[in-house]
């Protein structure tokens, strides 16, 4: 019974979390902590910390974490599947219509107006992550002299490697993590 409850909880999370990962957090909290009392608020905040530290969408991470703690591997499968069923159905329908009509010139005009905005949204996400990397702060809380040298150097080197040598993005991301640990250790920032 518990598994079925979890399954339907995560269908709701998947269905109502519009607009990125953080929109899902209050929904998951309501379902798991509030309605079904499967976790305490403290466990839930641990979950958010871990979800932020690991790759992957926050709602999938939460579904897996909740599923594992509450019901083991079957829980993981049911929660995750529940979470993606709404996405799957909605996006499949939209993909069908998009590819049917995208070459219609009128549709092209409308889509054309949305593309510059998408570029801006990606740029904004990049700027936020860069500020977190260089200053460990959001834009409004930045203190310029607190710039972190290691991160700034890695950002510049990574950008040059990407643009001039066309190094693979996955290599860059993992490589910057490894380089960071080594540099921190050499500088004595890690005991």
């Amino acid at each position: 019974m518990l598994l079925i409850k979890l399954f339907f909880s995560f269908i709701q999370v998947g269905l109502f979390s519009v607009g990125g990962g953080y929109a899902a957090i209050p929904l998951i909290q309501e379902q798991i902590v509030g309605i079904h009392k499967l976790m305490t608020l403290e466990e839930f905040s641990d979950l958010i910390t871990v979800a932020e530290m690991t790759p992957g969408p926050i709602s999938i991470n939460s579904a897996t974490f909740v599923g594992m703690r509450v019901a083991g591997v079957p829980g993981v499968l049911l929660c995750t599947i529940g979470c993606i069923i709404p996405s799957f159905c909605i996006c499949l329908i939209l993909a069908h219509f998009y590819y049917k009509y995208r070459t219609v010139s009128g549709v092209q005009v409308v889509l054309g107006a949305m593309r510059p905005a998408v570029v801006a949204l990606i740029a904004s996400a990049g700027a936020s992550i860069l500020m977190l990397g260089l200053f460990q702060a959001e834009l409004q809380d930045i203190i310029l002299k607190d710039i972190r040298i290691v991160e700034a150097a890695i950002f510049i080197v990574a950008l040059i490697l990407l643009r001039k040598l066309k190094i693979n993005a996955v290599t860059i991301i993992l490589g910057s993590g490894v380089a960071g640990v080594i540099l921190y250790a050499l500088m004595g920032k890690i005991e």
């Binding site: 979390s17 871990v50 996405s87 996955v170």
Partner: protein
């Protein structure tokens, strides 16, 4: 048939790898997908990738899952969607399942903390690399409407923290007006 199988495998493998490296939210994976599927494999056009991003941001569910449903469908129909979803959700499911068993040690590990902090610089570099190309192409259209929209949308989301979905909807509205104006000018036809 064999070739088709091979491509499905490439789809699965690439989604798996990108998902495993997506630290920091939906727009990171969009940048990675753009590099992989537009630049490297040449499966998608750049405009298509931007359209897919606009769609995935406007519907419920985790952005990476939504994007993989549409890209998978584009390449190999429903089977492609399912393959792409599997590739996208397996890494977070596996990682979180393991971590949920000892998250206390994970959360407090200083090496992991250092790597994650520096990785932000690497992730930011990847996004900037993609944005430089995308923004360059918007500038190349030489349409002042698009260029102004791009900078306005950036200010709206980054400085004023207006939600991505609202911005996309606003641009959809502008696109419809643009279409109406074009239709009127061309006396009922769009070129």
């Amino acid at each position: 048939m064999k070739k088709e199988h091979n491509k499905l495998w490439i789809l699965f493998k690439s989604m798996f790898l990108l998902s495993a490296c997506t630290f920091g939210g939906g727009f990171v994976i969009v940048s990675l997908m753009k590099k992989k599927y537009v630049e490297e494999l040449k499966w998608l056009e750049e405009d298509e990738m931007l359209d897919v991003t606009a769609i995935t941001q406007s519907v419920p569910g985790p952005l990476p899952v939504n994007a993989s449903v549409i890209i998978g469908y584009r390449m190999f129909g429903v089977l492609g969607s399912l393959t792409a979803i599997l590739g996208t959700i397996l890494p977070p499911m596996m990682i979180i399942s393991i971590i949920s068993l000892f998250y206390e040690q994970f959360r407090t590990n200083i090496y992991i903390a250092a790597a994650l902090q520096v990785m932000r610089a690497g992730v930011a570099a990847v996004i900037f690399d993609v944005v430089i190309n995308l923004a360059g192409n918007v500038l190349k259209t030489r349409r002042s409407l698009y260029i102004i929209m791009m900078f306005t949308a950036f200010a709206a989301t980054y400085l004023f923290e207006i939600s991505a979905m609202l911005i996309i909807l606003a641009c959809l509205g502008i696109g419809l007006i643009d279409l109406a104006v074009t239709l009127k000018k061309g006396k009922g036809t769009v070129k």
